[in-house]
Amino acid sequence: MIVPFSHVLFLALVLFLLGAVCAVARRNLVMILIGVEIMLNAAGLVFVGASLHWEHLEGQAFVIFILTLAAAEVAVGLALIISSHRRTGSVNADRYNLLKG
């Protein structure tokens, strides 16, 4: 492998933090969903890197699962967002506080 494993890990860490900040700091539901996607892909990147580093194929197989999971999640998540936008006319996460005690 040309790229050192530590570089891969570093890139994944940066990506993960970006995703986390995006998910936490943004108020827009779509942006939160994108943040989650980025975090998932960061995790996938670590899997691929680790799989190459230790020469085990299971890591790559896992990435396939994560991709599928991400696709399903986005499909359901976007559908939910559209549905709630139709109901309330807003995609602001802070407005969804009906369950607050």
Partner: protein, 637 residues
């Protein structure tokens, strides 16, 4: 044979089950016919079983019940002449009581419940009578206890009556514990619970173990048979309907204890200590109860104490090794006690629920039929020769006198004294209730209620005549050889252990004992005549007499003693646990702890902003903290 036994047992149970499930939808007449016919048919089956069975004991398995590797407890019957005669007596007397109840309960709305329990009572007693497997026997034993509770407290809306039912249940339960321990001990010893097997293997028993088992069984019998020191429940049990009292006293409950001792006689007879304990309990209880009966005012309580006293004679018989004599007295007692109670029920009902014998009088003329019936029962109970009770009581006393050792002679003398007292209290009731007395200022003598006597159904009185005949003629069951009698019962029980012990007394001794006890009984009756027939009741009583009266009428303060020694401390401890420990410590502690929760939750409330981003932030922070801790070497598992 199996079919007869199955019918004997199952019919009362089916009757009770039907009444419990569908009794409310049946017409009243249907309920009565169902309840009576099951017992009558059961009696018929018991009779056929007795006729068709040989003299040898046989074990019949009716139904498989509990069965596992190496242990099985089937519903099995040990049928021997003792069980056969007992079953016939139980069903016969119960059948008459059922018929009588139809009249007695004619105005009561709880007849379905009443007959349901009555049938169940007979079933339970039949299980006790016939069962071979001890678990099955115990089922019946507890069933008897439960039914007595339910029937004594039958009029449960009255607090006193309900309490009497509870008292009966709790006190007999104290005895049941010993029976449970005895069963466990038997199982530990032999890995088998069949009565036949146990009695067969018993002779190899260690003497100390035999004594322990004998005493445990005695304690169990003491509870059920209301002997000292557990005698206090029986007088209170008079709170139930009168036919129930008759059933409890004559056929089903009280005799179960002494019958248990007869069934286990091969075990008990191994230990002379246990045997003499049985005899001592019997002699002391019989004197105690006879004294207490002397001063009772309630007609039913007199009869209750007389039952304790008479059952004590049966204990003495078993203690003297004479199961046959004990059984003889059990049979004659069943007849005359059922008769006396049912006649008392007639009196009480016709006098509008009057129980006090000092407020009765002169009933000879107004209730001539009941007068004759009660007289028959009284003659037999007082053991006036030549009526039923005389021969059976005499047989027991003779067996006691025949035992070697001065102790038994002393017990025999106690028995003779009791025989005298028995005649005295029996005829005290008889003359007070039926005799005319000169008017006296204090108590309204010969005072019939203003409303006049309540008419009784003819059937209610008529059904008692068979009992009267049997109680007068019960002696013929086992007329001693001295009178060239047939000794039918002795021959029937000849194969049983202790059934007919060899009589080693000379005819001279036999005649002496008979003459003495006969004379004492007649003397008691005559004395009662002079005390209560002619004289008006004394108006003023001296303090000493009053103290004596209080002592006797409260049965030597036994009940009050238990109240002081057990019930009051128990209540005090319960009260302490309730007010101080439960409410004081536990509840207050929890309340105080609860007060902190609002403060804590108010602090936490600020974190619940309702904003998704805050929550996500928390999730991330929490995860980071957790991962950080793990990285730093924290091992939660």
């Amino acid at each position: 044979m199996k079919a007869y036994l199955l019918f004997t047992l199952v019919l009362p149970f089916l009757g009770s089950l039907t009444l419990a499930l569908a009794g409310r939808h049946l017409p009243r007449r249907g309920v009565e016919v169902l309840a009576c016919s099951t017992i009558l048919l059961s009696c018929l089956a018991a009779l056929l079983a007795l006729i068709s069975a040989g003299p040898n004991p046989q074990t019949v398995i009716l139904l498989p019940w509990i069965s596992t590797e190496g242990f099985s407890a089937p519903m099995s019957v040990l049928y021997d002449p003792l069980a056969g005669i007992m079953a016939l007596m139980v069903t016969f007397v119960s059948a008459l009581i059922h018929l009588y109840s139809v009249s007695f309960m004619r105005d009561d709305d709880g007849y379905v419940r009443y007959f349901c329990y009555l049938n169940l009572f007979v079933f339970s007693m039949l299980v006790v009578t016939l069962a071979d497997n001890l678990l099955f026997l115990y089922l019946g034993w507890e069933g008897v206890g439960f039914c007595s509770y339910a029937l004594i407290g039958f009029w449960y809306s009255d607090e006193v009556r309900a309490a009497a039912g509870r008292k009966a249940f709790i006190l007999t339960r104290i005895g049941d514990v010993a029976f449970g321990i005895a069963i466990a001990l038997f199982f530990a010893l032999y890995r088998d619970l069949s009565l036949a097997v146990l009695n067969q293997k018993a002779p190899g028993l260690d003497p100390s173990l035999a004594t322990a088992l004998g005493l445990l069984l005695l304690w169990a019998a003491v509870g059920k048979s209301a002997q000292l020191p557990l005698a206090v429940w029986l007088p209170d049990a008079m709170a139930g309907p009168t036919p129930v009292s008759a059933l409890i006293h004559a056929a089903t409950m009280v005799t179960a204890g002494v019958y248990l001792l007869m069934r286990f006689f091969p075990v008990i007879s191994l230990s002379p200590a246990a045997l003499s304990a049985v005899a001592v309990v019997g002699a002391v209880s019989s004197l105690f109860a006879a004294c207490a009966a002397l001063a009772q005012r309630d007609i039913k309580r007199v009869l209750a104490y007389s039952t304790i006293s008479q059952v004590s004679y049966m204990f003495m018989g078993v203690g003297a090794g004479d199961v046959g004599g004990s059984m003889f007295h059990l049979l004659s007692h069943a007849f005359f006690k059922a008769l006396l109670f049912l006649a008392a029920g007639c009196i009480i009902q016709s006098l509008h629920e009057e129980h006090d014998i000092f407020r009765m009088g002169g009933l000879r003329r107004s209730l001539p039929g009941v007068f004759l019936l009660f007289l028959a029962g009284a003659l037999s109970l007082a053991a006036i020769p030549p009526f039923g009770g005389f021969f059976s009581k005499d047989r027991i006393l003779l067996a006691v006198f025949n035992q070697a050792g001065g102790g038994y002679q002393l017990l025999g003398v106690l028995g003779e004294v009791t025989a005298f007292l028995t005649a005295l209290y029996t005829f005290r009731v008889f003359f007070l209730v039926f005799g005319d007395r000169p008017a006296s200022g204090t108590v309204g003598s010969s005072a019939l209620p203003e409303a006049g006597l309540r008419p009784l159904p003819k059937f209610m009185v008529g059904i008692l005549w068979p009992l009267a005949f049997l109680s007068l003629a019960a002696g013929a069951l086992n007329l001693p050889g001295l009178f060239s009698g047939g000794e039918w019962l002795d021959r029937a029980l000849a194969g049983m252990p202790g059934g007919a012990p060899p009589s080693n007394s000379s005819p001279g001794v036999e005649a002496t004992v008979m003459a003495v006890s006969g004379f004492l009984s007649v003397a008691g009756a005559v004395w009662a005549y002079f005390l209560y027939r002619r004289r008006p009741l004394p108006e003023a009583v001296t303090p000493l007499r009053q103290r004596m009266k209080d002592l006797l009428s409260s049965a030597f303060y036994l009940d009050q003693g238990y109240q002081k020694a057990i019930v009051t401390p128990y209540r005090a401890v319960s009260r302490f646990l309730w007010l101080k420990v439960d409410e004081g410590a536990v509840d207050t502690g929890i309340d105080r702890a609860g007060k902190w929760f609002p403060f804590v939750s108010l602090g936490l409330q600020q974190w619940a902003t309702g904003r998704l981003s805050t929550y996500l932030k928390m999730v991330f922070l929490g995860f980071t903290a957790l991962l950080g801790a793990i990285v730093l070497g924290w091992h939660p598992w």
